[in-house]
């Protein structure tokens, strides 16, 4: 069985046994999603980069055995904890997303459509940073991390109904603000 077909958990176990190839596979799977989760949660790209490295450093050097649950939940829990630590320490403030515009890859669309889509995407990012932290967190854990209701509730240590309510508010607010894009 090749490592492409292996689960995240199996890859992580292989890595813990000394298989560097398993780690590279795992890294490719989570590279962007962890980075975006941090980037959308942080005010500064530099902070996101720093926390991103810390997350992987924790994954690499951890000596505690990986017992249960999914690797996905495990890595996003680490990311969230480091984010909270950093937020408390530096009292980070959420600012507008000032990253350079990324190139739009879809070549089937007209230039106008591309610009419009880019504009909507930027507005979503901006409104996302303006959401209350609890709502943004639930939104990102669902959309970026792809975690389930149970996993999110367990991670942030609140009831399932609270998670659902926070997400409902976040979606409602974003939909109102981006009505012309949807």
């Amino acid at each position: 069985m090749s490592s492409v077909e292996q689960s995240d958990e199996a890859l992580f176990r292989h890595f813990r046994s000394g298989d560097n190839g398993a780690f590279e596979m795992l890294y490719q799977r989570y590279r962007q999603t962890v980075y975006l989760f941090l980037l959308r949660s942080c005010s500064e790209q530099g902070d996101a980069e720093e926390i991103y490295q810390d997350v992987w450093s924790r994954i690499i050097t951890t000596t505690q055995p990986f017992q249960e649950g999914s690797f996905r939940a495990y890595i996003f829990r680490i990311a969230r904890n480091l984010l909270i630590d950093r937020y408390r320490r530096n009292r980070l403030t959420m600012v507008k997303d000032d990253h350079a515009l990324a190139e739009v890859a879809d070549s089937d669309k007209t230039l106008e459509e591309k610009i419009e889509e880019q504009d909507c995407s930027d507005r979503l990012k901006q409104h996302l940073t303006n959401l209350p932290a609890e709502q943004r967190e639930v939104f990102l854990l669902k959309e970026e991390a792809g975690l389930s209701l149970v996993q999110i509730a367990s991670m942030i240590d609140v009831g399932r109904e609270t998670v659902k309510s926070r997400l409902r508010y976040a979606l409602k607010q974003l939909r109102n603000l981006l009505e012309d894009c949807l």
Binding site: R31, A102, R160, L171, R175
Partner: protein, 212 residues
């Protein structure tokens, strides 16, 4: 209140969010992380090398040392085997030793004095009987040769006799006894005793010693 286990979904908002997923970590960051992982995995792999190679070395050492320890132990057990320096001198004797039955030995010893012959045949399992069976073929030829020996030749035989196997040497002594060369037999026996003090003598030789 909605009690389902699913989160509220907004496909349009999700699509818009996914469309904006363009940013990626820099290559420098990627390399830093991958290098750190490489270092850790190589450390984890080498963690097994030292104890594994130590165990292998220990096994090898024990395997090589054990036979060396057993060798002196075996050699110290019981009777010290005499050296067989001229074993190659009697190759057919060894063959005969394995095949020849005891009666054949009796038949091929016509020159043995009657009294000696009778006594020696009484003890079939005695070392003498066995020893007679060792080289019955050799004995007649040796007898003839010794009968023709001069004094000088006996001296030469003495010098050679030191190199004989104990069995062959005793056979030569028996032949000397049979051919009534008692002085030479005594001389040879003395030398034999000096060299192999604990080696058992054949009954015939012992009887001859008592009688003389």
């Amino acid at each position: 209140m909605n009690k389902s286990h699913k989160l509220t979904d907004d496909p349009q908002l999700s699509a818009l969010y996914r469309a904006g997923r363009k940013e990626q970590p820099t290559e420098v960051t990627d390399q830093l992380i991958l290098n750190e992982a490489r270092k850790v995995t190589s450390r984890r792999r080498s963690r097994w090398i030292v104890p594994l190679s130590s165990a292998a070395l220990l096994l090898l050492g024990v395997g090589l040392t054990l036979p060396l320890i057993e060798l002196p132990y075996e050699s110290s057990q019981g009777f010290e085997k005499p050296t067989l320096p001229i074993q190659e001198s009697y190759p057919e004797e060894d063959l005969y030793l394995k095949k020849a039955p005891a009666p054949a030995a009796q038949a091929s010893a016509p020159a043995l004095p009657k009294s000696l012959r009778e006594r020696s045949t009484n003890a079939d399992s005695s070392p003498a009987t066995r020893r007679k069976a060792l080289s019955p073929k050799m004995r007649p030829s040796a007898t003839t040769a010794l009968e023709e020996m001069s004094g000088a030749e006996v001296q030469a035989f003495d010098a050679k006799g030191v190199e004989l196997t104990p069995e062959a040497w005793l056979n030569q002594i028996e032949v000397l006894i049979q051919s009534n060369q008692h002085q030479s037999a005594k001389h040879q026996l003395q030398q034999f005793r000096t060299r192999y003090p604990d080696y058992p003598l054949p009954d015939a030789v012992e009887l001859w010693l008592i009688e003389n």
